[in-house]
């Protein structure tokens, strides 16, 4: 498995007037060529910040990023820009209201100086068809489209320079449930189409909802208060979560085929503020299994199974979950 | 609070320092130089003499150096000598400062009172005929050239009707209180009218905003939803931004005062600065401008402090 993107000990801190917000803390993570890595966590856990970092919108305060084996420094980013694109949560803010769709979709090409104007127009037309929009959409303006259609336009824009990674930051959560599965299917189709062409398209699919993730993720990473608490292949994670936080998230997801005998693990209280993250394990303030050690010692991300990592002093074993 | 005041005071001084340099530099760019008068009174002076004079007066030195000398002297209280008045600048400026402050303060109070009345009446029935009328008048107030308003006042009340004196601070040989007041009426009215328009629009907007919010609040609270209570309550809330804007308008007020003084021949700072620039009285112009800047900066500072003090949401 060759890593497309590699994060090494990445932290992102925001100095603010009331103190330093530790949005992302010491995250190490890989995304493989062509895979879909789901990044889940509560609102405020740092998902967007991590996604923005991978899309080059946010400089990490410390740590390294690499793309395709090459460090993402100034020069590295120049080369990687067209390979990494982003799709946002709110389809209404994602499109410039003063641009016709053809310009919006072709924008990354224009910025990257790919092709001439005619070629870019042709590519825009091709993309609009590919994401399932009518051809006449090209000459219309964003406000004429519904939320789902706008998200398709945003996806078409992300696809324009044929990227190898698309960071999708909760691309479904602003959409109607009936539309969500359509967009989800579209994203899956696009991935398969890329593979069929001999290219590859990987997703970092951000979501606060584990249920959505189950449909398309190959692997799942769980973030809590800026820390990566668990990473596992999707099936493993759903079958046997090792971190109590993941277990609690899963318990909240109604799903067929899972053992009903799930211990009541609903977590209480709210996530602490990233201004003052708790010492030791960040989850100990809400963890039903927390012990003295958890309050002082930060657990390292360690293997609990094949490709299955968890940051917990007392990981759950298969029998418990 | 203490730290806030100190920091703002520091900023004010910094702006004043920067401005003193800018103005010093600009004054140097005005036509003529301080030697012209000496040369004019002694046309026979040879070029060598002139050159020596330049050295003696330090005019051959670079701007920065001259400014540093001036600043050093100024900090020790030596603000120089007014050429046209043949007196130390401060002696000339002190009475003028008083005249201007008097004019500005009286006009300010008059226009605040007017604006509060008109703005509240307007805000009670937005869109009504009274509101439309007041809005029109307010627009007229912000759109009229102050000097022309003064001119029209003179035309009507002094030239045509002979009700009021057209210029000066008092009639020579009279100087009674009534006489002084009669001389003040037109300048004050001009300056006040010129400011009332903007103030009124602001009071109106602020009142409508708070009334809208307080309306809902009182409707929820029910009970003694007396209109009067609402009004007083709303007025207090509406006053906070209004006061700030008013205090922040001291710069505009000073500009208006300069015109008013010039038009009505009032011996204030504005007229003094204007005359000083016209007659190449560099020292007087320089210090006068700095005083004007200082007054405006201090009133802005006062506005900031008042705002912080009035608005409980601001924690210092």
């Amino acid at each position: 498995m060759s890593a497309l993107v590699e994060l090494q000990d990445v932290s992102v801190h925001f100095p603010t007037q009331s103190g330093v917000v530790r949005a992302v803390q010491h995250v190490s993570l890989e995304i493989a060529e062509g895979e879909t890595l789901a990044l889940v966590g509560e609102s405020g856990s740092g998902k967007s910040t991590l996604g923005f970092t991978m899309a080059g919108l946010q400089k990490p305060s410390s740590g390294q990023l690499a793309f395709d084996g090459r460090a993402l420094d100034e020069a590295g980013w120049k080369a990687a820009r067209r390979q990494i694109q982003i799709v946002f949560q709110d389809p209404f803010g994602a499109l410039d209201p003063r641009m016709p769709v053809s310009d919006i979709v072709a924008e990354p090409l224009l910025i990257q100086r790919i092709g001439d104007a005619a070629q870019r127009r042709a590519r825009a037309a091709e993309l609009v068809a590919q994401v399932g929009l009518p051809r006449d959409a090209l000459n219309r303006y964003p406000h004429e489209f519904s939320g789902g259609q706008r998200q398709r336009i945003a996806i078409a824009r992300a696809l324009a320079p044929s990227p190898r990674l698309i960071v999708a930051d909760e691309p479904l959560s602003a959409l109607d449930v009936s539309i969500q599965s359509q967009v989800l299917n579209l994203m899956q189709d696009l991935q398969e189409a890329a593979a069929a062409r001999g290219e590859s398209l990987a997703y970092l699919f951000i979501s606060h909802d584990l249920a959505v993730v189950n449909h398309l993720a190959s692997r799942v990473a769980v973030l809590y208060l800026g820390r990566l608490v668990e990473v596992a292949p999707r099936a493993d994670l759903f079958a046997g979560p090792a971190h109590p936080y993941t277990a609690a998230l899963l318990a909240a997801v109604p799903r067929i085929g899972r053992s009903r005998a799930l211990p009541a693990q609903a977590i209480s209280g709210e996530m602490p503020s990233p201004l003052h993250p708790p010492p030791g394990c960040v989850f100990h303030t809400r963890c039903p299994r927390a012990e003295a050690r958890c309050r002082t010692e930060v657990p390292a991300l360690a293997a609990v199974g094949e490709g299955h990592l968890a940051a917990c002093h007392f990981p759950l074993t298969g029998g418990e979950a | 609070m203490r730290r806030f005041i100190l920091r703002r005071l520091g900023q004010t001084l910094l702006v004043l320092l920067v401005m003193s340099f800018v103005i010093y530099g600009l004054i140097g760019l005005m036509p003529g130089d301080p030697l012209d008068v000496m040369i004019a009174s002694n046309p026979g002076a040879s070029p060598e003499v002139v050159a020596r004079l330049r050295v003696i007066y330090g005019l051959d030195q670079p701007l920065m150096l001259r400014y540093a000398h001036w600043l050093l002297a100024a900090l020790q209280g030596d603000l120089g000598f007014s050429r046209t008045h043949s007196q130390p600048v401060l002696v000339v400026l002190a009475p003028a400062l008083w005249t201007t402050c008097k004019l500005m303060l009286i006009s300010f109070v008059v226009s605040v009172i007017l604006a509060l009345g008109l703005g509240i009446v307007s805000a009670l029935r937005p869109g009504g005929w009274l509101d439309s009328l007041i809005s029109l008048a307010a627009f007229a107030g912000i759109s009229v050239p102050v000097f022309w308003l003064a001119l029209m006042m003179i035309l009507v009340f002094a030239v045509e009707l002979h009700w009021l004196p057209a210029s000066g601070r008092e009639t020579v040989g009279d100087g009674s209180l009534l006489d002084v007041v009669r001389h003040l009426i037109m300048p004050v009215a001009t300056l006040a009218l010129a400011n009332t328009g903007g103030f009124t629009r602001f009071v109106r907007a602020s009142m409508i905003e708070t009334l809208r919010m307080d309306h809902i609040r009182t409707a929820r609270a029910k009970g003694n939803g007396e209109g009067r209570v609402v009004l007083i309550h709303a007025l207090r809330n509406a006053m906070i931004p209004v006061l700030t804007v008013m205090a922040l308008s001291f710069g505009t007020l000073f500009s208006g005062a300069l015109l008013t003084e010039t038009m009505f021949a009032q011996p204030g700072m504005g007229k003094m600065i204007y005359d000083a620039i016209l007659s190449n009285d560099f020292n007087l112009a320089l210090v006068g401008l700095l005083f004007a800047t200082l007054i405006t900066l201090l009133s802005n500072l006062a506005a900031d402090l008042a705002y912080a003090w009035l608005d409980p949401r601001i924690k210092l």
């Binding site: 820009r81 982003i86 994602a94 910025i111 | 050239p145 030239v159």
Partner: protein
Amino acid sequence: MQDQAIGVWRLRWRRLRGHRGGMVSLLVLGLLVLFVLAAFPLQAITGIDPDATDLFARFDPPSATHLLGMDEAGRDVLLRLMIGGQISLLVGLLATLLGGVIGVTVGVIAGYFGGRLDGALMRFTDGMIALPLLPLLIVLGAVDLTKLGFSSEFAHSGAAGFWRIVVIISLVDWTSIARLVRAATLQIRERDYVRAARAAGASAFYMMRTHILPNIATPIIVSFTLTVGRVILAESVLSFLGFGVVPPTPSWGNMLNNAQELVTTAPALAVYPGLLIFITVIAVNFLGDGLQHAFDPRSDRKD
């Protein structure tokens, strides 16, 4: 392809038409423009030289050839009012544009880059706002251009007087636009479409030109309108005090140069130019109000 853009403007036009003050001002401004432009045919037909003085015709009352009579130097008042209006309006527009360019540049840069640069620029802007502007304008107006290295010939030409006032007013009156543009830029900067372009590697210049400026055009237009009114007032004051447009070139401000004398001898001459300034500025301000109404999406709620 443009129809949607036109749609927005058509909607705004409809809202503006519903704003009585705005429409009346538009009409008044149209008439004013016609009035000042009428100088060309008038001059061509009558052959009057607006600058030619005739000391035997001082303060001549209105006649068939000189509809508004003669001024204190025996020049045709009507023609000078028209030409002076051209100058005053032109100064108003040009200084607003130039000041607008300064203000928009400062505002966009401060808002887009943020941080220290923003802090420094806004501190500077606040400092400018705090200054008593008229004395500063007078000093700037008094600056001897030859000391700045301009030739004496240019320094005393009419063109120098004209451009000097355009430049100094724009140097002073850019602050409100800068603050407005900064605030608007701060909002747009955080929009996802700006982020998307940034992720694609767009330069700051591309971002400002393509995404930010078009999306903040509306408040800029309103603010420009209000600035025109302020600038015309400033020009009239400076020219009146003798630091602006210099005679023989007329402007509504400098036609009042001798106003104090005129008030007693020929009051009408003191009334006309000021009245024209007043009408122009009030119309411009009402138009600004109307535009604000027309551009504000909330004003639809009343319909």
